[in-house]
Amino acid sequence: MQGGAEPAAECAFANGTAVQLDSIPGFPVSALGEAARAAREQGRALVALMPLREGACDHLLLLLADSATGRLSASSFDLGGANEFPSVTQAWPAAHLFEREIFETSGVTPVGHPWLKPVRRHAELGDAGAPPHPFLRAQGEGVHEVAVGPIHAGVIEPGHFRFQCSGEEVLHLEIQLGYQYRGAEQRLVSGKPASRLVAAESIAGDTAVGHALAYCTALEALSGAKVPLRAQSIRGVALELERIANHAGDLGALCNDVGYVPGAALFGRMRGDFLNLLTEISGNRFGRGLLVPGGVRFEVTPELQARMLNALDEVEPRLHAAERLVFSTPSVVSRFEGAGAIERARAEELGFVGPTARACGVPRDARADHPVGAFQFAHVPVAVAEDGDVMARATVRWLEIVRSLRFLRDQLSRLPAGPLRKDPVALRASSMAVALIEGWRGAIAHVAFTDEAGQVARHRVIDPSFRNWLALALCVRGGQVSDFPLCNKSFNLSYAGHDL
């Protein structure tokens, strides 16, 4: 982990593959800080920092992704029997929530963490086992506090937002989540294969395809199964339909939040057009039931292929007309521009992902950096904007709609021939697989571990929302409370995906 000095000391592997657990190199925990610093300097992405084993937290596992080489890497750090380790959050802020999670689930303390608060368990929620921790509180003349949630004023998931304000100006926002915690990861390793799969689809309901794809990719990596090319293509089509539907829906919702009803109506309807295309393939508006480990369940027949291409011909002009309308309306543009801006340096050091990062000029996209499945053969250009504000996030989402449409047409006009799925085979024992899938919110990471008997003993999920919620908290600083709904919608993060 010392940069170029000890290349052999690192266990590098490709996205969507597995490694033997005993091939992961070990270091004393005193080397963790240096490893984190080096990784940050090299521009690597933090995939995860977590206990190497569930239960007894005696080693930490550091998972990194290097977009320059397209490789992932794993290393472990021995706590030496201690119940604490030096926090790396100051050296690499991207680790902040991972360290809080380690603290919450194992009781091991990252010493020097600037805000060591539980992530999903809270004493305020009646959880006697959770250590109490206050909200940060601003003090001074004219300073007041606004508390919102867990139940919000709308059809939306629950969470608690605590604003510190001076007049209308937001000084600080602290977001407390955990209300949606269901224990989804437990279901991914217990019960029938079908029970696990539907739980994966339900981690974040608007990302059913993305999470199912990450789940299946992790299992396929452990079994070494090669997914048929036709299935890879259909999976890619479903993933991009999901992306377009969500981006279109959010562009509509952004219009709604600035009081521009025509935009809301146009984009809101077109979101449904893409969900209906997912239904044509899978029988469900969110693509549930389509993916299975080893491939896909449903065929895209030549008739369906033609019908989908026709549907794209019909919807594309309407999409472009709506885009021209919305982005040329001064009352929309003036509200989008400058609202909720995040600097590129912040996005980089905090490890934001997806359109959130790309809108700040960080060209990170797992489809390009660590391609698996159809994205190995069909390149989707990375959409980037510079300003980091609501306008930039809206622009990135629009560009991604356009580029995903091109990908859809490309795939649908030349679907590879062949079978739809491969029968499951036994999983490799004592191994770890990592699947990074670029969902519409950003990189979804699934990390699965097998035991000596080749059974999945642990399946960790890191939804892009887990990495991005802090972006919302930061972007409202210095703005007005009334801009919060607009900023919130520009990210549209998942509460359930964060809470699991």
């Binding site: 867990p150 059809v155 279901r187 309901g205 309807r269 029988g283 021209r324």
Partner: protein, 249 residues
């Protein structure tokens, strides 16, 4: 402004005629047709693969309160005794036991009594509470208000506060961390009030059933007036359920 009119013209009239016959994609999985007569003795292929133990055999019965409409059973059944693709999007019920379908005619939701209908039949305000909802149900509830489904034309609207609401729409398996907030919202809703449980999670825990951090759906202390099955239910399913409850279908 001209551009606005142009794109408005281009869109045509997107709002669905409802109630009435609806055209859904061929593969859409709605309320299954169950044909126990086709079962071979001793076969339990469907029950064995069902992710939520929604299926009982001999005789064949499917509990739509647990069913995720996932296609596993239909795929496993050698006799095609369970068919989700018959185009039935109506899957709302008044009583929990009515959700168990066995091949007899489905006991779809009936209307509220005369007094409740006179109160809510032409104007109903609902407050949504997500309690562990993966956002699938929330997304379809949101879609109800778009120009395609246009819930507002029936006098039904979502409101921001339970104090302004005539009832709660609850989705999600009710996480331990949301139990108290849900109870407070229910208590804050003025009586007489309605409760609609949306989706397999709110009815039975769905894919998360029996996990310790949730409650297998809405607890018996909160009486449910309408169960809308699905994972998530299609917006048409939700529209159908609400209008049945109001006696308008």
């Amino acid at each position: 402004m001209l551009r606005l009119f142009k794109s408005r013209l281009m869109q045509g009239r997107p709002t669905l005629d409802f109630p009435g016959p609806q055209s859904l994609p061929e593969r859409f999985r709605g309320r299954p047709e169950v044909k126990p007569g086709l079962c071979k003795e001793g076969c339990r292929a469907c029950a064995d693969v069902c992710p939520t133990e929604a299926i009982q055999i001999a005789p064949l019965r499917v509990d739509l309160g647990r069913c995720l409409f996932c296609a596993e059973c239909a795929e496993a059944c050698p006799e095609k005794a369970i068919d989700f693709t018959a185009g039935h999007f109506e899957q709302s019920f008044r009583k929990r036991e009515d959700l168990i379908v066995d091949g007899a005619e489905a006991k779809l939701a009936g209307a509220l009594d005369e007094r409740m209908r006179s109160l809510f039949g032409r104007s109903l305000r609902l407050r949504h509470v997500a309690a562990g909802d993966c956002s699938g149900c929330a997304a379809e509830l949101t879609a109800l208000s778009n120009v395609v489904f246009d819930l507002g034309r029936f006098g039904v609207q979502f409101v921001a506060s339970p104090r302004h609401a005539d009832g709660l729409v609850i989705s999600g398996p009710v996480t331990a961390n949301m139990r108290e907030a849900l109870r407070l919202a229910w208590e804050a809703t003025p009586a007489p009030k309605l409760v609609v449980a949306v989706g397999a999670c709110a009815i039975s825990g769905g894919p998360f059933r029996d996990l310790p951090a949730q409650s297998n759906g809405v607890s018996p202390e909160i009486p449910v007036d309408l169960y809308v099955a699905g994972c998530p239910p299609h917006p048409l399913t939700l529209l159908d359920g609400l209008l049945r409850l109001l006696g308008r279908i």
